[in-house]
Amino acid sequence: MSAPTTTPRSVASPLRTTPLALLGAGRAHTLMYRNFLSARTHPMVFFGGFFEPVLYLFSLGVGLGALAPDIALGDGTTVSYVQFVAPAMLASSAMNGAVTEATFNIFFKLKFGKLYDAMLATPMTPMDVAVGEIGWSQARGAAYSAGFLVIMLAMGLTSGWTWPLALLATALIGLAFGAVGMAATTFMTSWKDFDLVQLVILPMFLFSGTLYPLSVYPGWLQVVARLSPLYHGTVLVRGLVLGQVTWSMLGNVAVLVVMAAVGLVVARRRLSTLLLT
């Protein structure tokens, strides 16, 4: 005896050979679509992340910049302070958008909404969940970045022709921070643990060559600052926005790629450990 079916059964859809399917995350896009539906009905959540870097740009860049001297770049050319700060704000906003999404929102879904339990009862895999969430947090970061880049263009804060590539750089920053943020979230047990996130994010924002060049520090402190992933993101975005592209930027890209990969693998493992017990 079997169930009479009214429509042809569609079993697990055949694997499509997309890069995501090869990762074991062929359905990650359905989770991103779910997040899109949710965001559509709760749009206010989005605005904060957009305005934050804009406020910083106007207070630090334009305001403080009026008192600050021009800043010499690596090749000897000088740029105005606001030109120096704006790309860093772009990089930071990509980081903030991704981290917010990957920590607060994912923690809620994991602990209270039991959303992932519901997903894993279907053919969705932990990899689908990890890739879908990280992809979404990255997309959110990219949306903020695009908006901010438009403001920079309008204010004439870009030079050269490589600035559109900065969008790719911010996507990479979002991916790296989203992945590590999600991995970190799977270890959190209560909302208090989010103070730790701020404890990491704030110093990173302040000391990653965002508000002044690292050259103001003594050598050893410069080495410490280079450990900050946001430093690598900032260097990358600044170079692209100001048309100063160097080979060493490949190193910056590598740091962020490694970070994204490690975060993704850890997040996937931890989801299995937490949910498939």
Partner: protein
């Protein structure tokens, strides 16, 4: 004949030192409604989670829909409907969107999903609420939506973990009605419950679990016949006289009485004829202060098998 929906042999689940499921043997035929009965912590949910392929098997053998959960988990899940103990609906989405995204998680094409959503909304009696936020639904509505969601992939096996816990009587009856309908369509239902009336209402067959083991198995009627009598007489003699009076009752050793369970405030007499037993008690000068004659239920079976100690 389709293969059995579930075959478990020596199925075991351990969490560290704790053995949640202790070597159970279960076979659920296709099309059957099968219940796991047990107190909290008896191992029902752990067994269900293994069958739903979201919990690795520690030991023993398990096949679900003829497939191996370890290797074919994804295929099995595409043919399962799962209704968890606590609703885990997506509270940020509407009723319709909940069904839509669940269909997408299953990898179904949108046209198929759209068609099924209308049917499922009707099935769950939620047509008026299609575009409402899930948060605003009543407990019974949420439960029905969770069941509708579990049916989006037209599953061969539906797993329901305590489907009516926490619902009011009306909502429970509506839900039973829906489950009966699924049953008559030939869907295999696997449910856990600690409501005996629910198991009696719904299950073709059931197992009683206690401390991770199966301690009884059969149809509700078989279990009643096997473990208790058809009728039950409950008698109360008042707190002061209860102990002494029920001792005398036992001493009478009436022919139609099978056994007597002596409790602090009442005695439960398992008898072939409750009225005759009551009359006989009167004849021997044992007139209870209050009495109740009733049909034996699964609850009697359950309490006899697992005892009356509170399980925490």
């Amino acid at each position: 004949m389709a293969p059995p929906a579930v075959v478990a042999r020596g199925l075991t689940k351990r969490f560290g030192d704790l053995t949640a499921v202790d070597g159970i043997d279960v076979t659920v035929a296709a099309g059957e409604t099968f219940a796991f009965l047990g107190a909290n912590g008896a191992g029902k949910t752990s067994a269900m989670r293994m069958i739903a392929t979201v919990s690795p098997v520690t030991d023993g053998e398990l096949s679900v829909l003829g497939l191996d959960p370890h290797h074919d988990g994804q295929v099995i899940r595409s043919r399962l409907g799962v209704v968890p103990q606590e609703d885990n609906l997506d509270l940020e989405l509407t009723v319709r969107e909940n069904l839509l995204v669940y269909g997408l998680y299953h990898g179904l094409p949108r046209t198929v999903i759209a068609h099924r959503i209308d049917d499922l909304l009707a099935f769950a009696q939620l047509e008026d609420k299609a575009d409402a936020e899930v948060d605003a639904l009543s407990g019974g509505m949420k439960r029905r939506l969770t069941i509708a969601r579990a049916l989006i992939n037209e599953p061969d096996l539906v797993i329901l973990d305590e489907p009516t816990t926490g619902l009011d009587p009306q909502a429970r009856h509506v839900l039973w009605d829906r489950l009966h309908e699924l049953r008559s369509r030939g869907v295999t239902l696997l449910l856990t419950t600690h409501y005996m009336d629910e198991a009696e209402q719904l299950a073709d067959r059931l197992v009683v679990m206690d401390h991770g083991r199966i301690i009884a198995e059969g149809s509700p009627t078989d279990l009643i016949v096997e473990h208790v009598t058809r009728e039950v007489l409950e008698v109360r003699f008042g707190t002061a006289r209860q102990a002494e009076s029920s001792d005398r009752l036992v001493a009478l050793d009436l022919p139609e009485v099978e056994s007597v369970e002596q409790l602090a405030e009442r005695a439960i007499v398992y008898t072939r004829d409750a009225e005759a037993t009551l009359d006989a008690l009167g004849d021997h000068g044992l007139v209870p202060r209050g009495h109740l004659t009733r049909r034996a239920t699964l609850e009697d079976v359950f309490l006899r098998l697992t005892g009356r100690q509170l399980v925490d």
